[in-house]
């Protein structure tokens, strides 16, 4: 509960931060109809934890001011609606359709602004500088998410998720809103164009070849060593046994 409260605080402030930034400036004006549909969906799916007026309860943080980007990230990755309170909300197949997600996001944005969902052009990796993206990723992201985005452990059961399934939009939203334990990387520390560079690097690592044919989780020398030692040495031991074993004597 404390965790969720803190998440909420972080997300709310992240939202305040981005007032006037390109992301919120380009927020499309939600139609009255979308907002009211979103209100209905919110009451059905979210209000039991986040409160009837999204003001927050003991089980869920206030959503006023978190912005459409936070809603889109949490709902489109299937993290929300939350099934149970755990150390880390894990990625699941989304429960709500993209249209429904859009409507809830529009409703939440109508309550208190906040960062908007980036449009396709903002997350396009066309012409992005993958090299700079790699440098920024190594400096700011790799400690938690691993150097190719394979994810990693945090404290008390929390973890930094793998980025292998994240869409460019979700990566952008996560940097902008800092979901759960993740720090916020606002548009003045990492500019929208640098965010695109990072997205370009993350998506590029997925298509990089795996020497030997297996990725082994891409978590570095640990699995490679494990396979090398257990697989390789094991095979050599079996071979040595085969070479030296005594032939069965025929009577």
């Amino acid at each position: 509960m404390v965790l969720l409260g803190l998440i909420a605080v972080g997300v709310v402030y992240a939202a305040f931060t981005n007032q006037g930034s390109p992301a919120s400036a380009s927020a499309p004006a939600a139609s009255q109809r979308e907002t009211s549909l979103g209100r209905q969906l919110f009451v059905q799916n979210c209000s039991s934890c986040h409160g009837y007026m999204a003001q927050g309860t003991k089980t869920g943080p206030s959503l006023i001011g978190v912005g459409a980007a936070a809603v889109d990230f949490q709902v489109s990755t299937g993290r929300m609606p939350l099934k149970e309170i755990e150390a880390e909300a894990s990625r699941k197949p989304p429960v709500l359709t993209p249209e429904q997600t859009h409507e809830i996001a529009a409703y939440i944005a109508s309550l208190g602004g906040g960062p908007a969902v980036p449009d396709a052009e903002q997350v396009s990796t066309q012409g992005a500088d993958t090299g700079l993206g790699q440098e920024l990723f190594s400096t700011n992201c790799a400690q938690c998410h691993n150097f190719v985005g394979a994810g990693g452990a945090l404290t008390d059961g929390k973890y930094a998720p793998a980025l292998t399934q994240s869409t460019p939009t979700q990566i952008y939203e996560a940097m902008l809103t800092g979901p759960e334990a993740m720090p916020v990387f606002n548009d003045s520390t990492i500019t929208p164009s640098e965010k695109r560079d990072i997205i370009a690097y993350v998506t590029k690592t997925r298509s990089s070849p795996n020497p030997g044919g297996f990725s082994l989780g891409r978590i570095g020398p640990v699995t490679e060593g494990l396979v090398g030692w257990i697989g390789g040495i094991g095979a050599l031991v079996l071979l040595a046994i085969w070479i030296t074993v005594k032939r069965r004597v025929h009577e």
Binding site: G10, L154, G178, A181, V184, T189, K246
Partner: protein
């Protein structure tokens, strides 16, 4: 004293073991033993003639094994030809081409040796007779007359050289070897020079701006205004100086008002932005695994955990000193600047740190 003594058993089986080593469990009884070489010991009974069977006991199986071995050798031959063909035939101009060439060379070479080795093993196991052979070990020492003759030669040589008679030659020769003995110790000096005060200071100084790592942008507190935000910063002008950055890299964290507490030096913070050294005080890994919910800064190497709200004091792990806090302020243009260098040495402990 003889070197065969080590192989003799206790007194109860002295008679048998004085000439033959202990039999290892699982080996055939001594009656079946054969020996490859004659033995020099005169008290050993005459060695039975070698009786390695020339024909296998299962001719049909041996024929099959022969074909398998021959097939493996042919495979090895073909792979060897393939290796040469791959070396000559495959281009190595582009990066992908090099990878393909390496793959082909590696696989063909592996098949050459694997087929050759497998064939040899099958040959030994399926075709050659399965007979245990024992070779007695001979004493290593030379014969007594040889040793006497050597001692005599040595003494004669020593006398003929007049090494004992002419002390000045002896002593100067010994003196000539002494510098050679001392030289390796002197060469240890190349492990130095001693770091002096280099480990105590970084390139941070009063007025130096904090710029974002990799992009080099200076920061105003108003830009870095999202609580839960964290970014790696470096001293301006040292972006390409790895020697400087290895000590001077810093993380800045934006917190909620009131979250920063003792022993954080609040005079060195700006608008709830605090700057800590990114170099772990354990063994110097980059600590930037920041959880904005708990305000823990973790080191990815050994899980040292620091509390960002309390002056980066150690909560857990092998580090035993807090991350040094960088004295930080704003300059007249409103950019974040260092007020001075770190007040304590950054990074791991060192001998002279005290």
């Amino acid at each position: 004293m003889s070197s065969t003594e080590g192989y003799t058993g206790g007194p109860e089986d002295e008679a048998e073991s004085s000439r033959a080593p202990h039999r290892v469990i699982g080996t055939p009884p001594p009656a079946e033993e054969r020996t490859l070489l004659g033995t020099v010991q005169t008290d050993t009974p005459p060695v039975p003639p070698r009786e390695l069977p020339a024909d296998p006991d299962d001719p049909a199986g041996a024929k099959r094994a022969e074909r398998i071995v021959a097939a493996l050798f042919i495979l090895s031959t073909l792979a060897g030809i393939g290796f040469i063909a791959a070396y000559i035939g495959l281009p190595v101009g582009a990066e992908d081409a090099v990878l393909r060439s390496n793959l082909a060379l590696g696989i063909s070479m592996a098949v050459v040796f694997l087929a050759l080795g497998t064939g040899a093993v099958i040959w030994v196991r399926r075709l050659m007779p399965d007979v245990e052979l024992t070779e007695a070990r001979k004493p290593l020492a030379s014969a007594e007359p040889d040793r006497k003759a050597f001692a005599e030669t040595f003494r004669e040589g020593a006398e003929a050289s007049q090494f004992v008679k002419r002390p000045i030659l002896r002593r100067t020769l010994i003196a000539a070897t002494l510098p050679l003995l001392v030289a390796p110790i002197v060469l240890l000096r190349d492990l130095g020079p001693l770091p002096g005060t280099k480990l105590r200071y970084t390139v941070w100084r009063k007025g130096l701006r904090l710029v974002i790592s990799d992009t080099g942008r200076p920061i105003k507190p108003a830009d870095f205004d999202s609580p839960g935000g964290m970014i790696t910063v470096i001293p301006e002008g040292f972006q390409a100086n790895d020697d400087a950055l290895v000590k001077a890299t810093v993380i800045i964290i934006k917190l909620e008002p009131g979250e920063l507490k003792y022993p954080t030096n609040l005079n060195w913070t700006v608008d709830n932005i605090v700057a800590y050294s990114k170099i772990c005080t354990h063994v110097g890994c980059p600590v930037a695994l920041y959880e904005q919910t708990t305000h823990h800064i973790l080191c990815p190497c050994h899980q040292s955990t620091f509390d960002a709200t309390r002056g980066a004091t150690v909560l857990f792990g092998p580090a035993n000193r807090p991350l040094p806090q960088l004295p930080m302020g704003v300059n007249s243009e409103g950019y974040l600047v260092a007020l001075s260098d770190f007040k304590v040495p950054v990074g791991p402990a060192f001998w002279e740190r005290g």
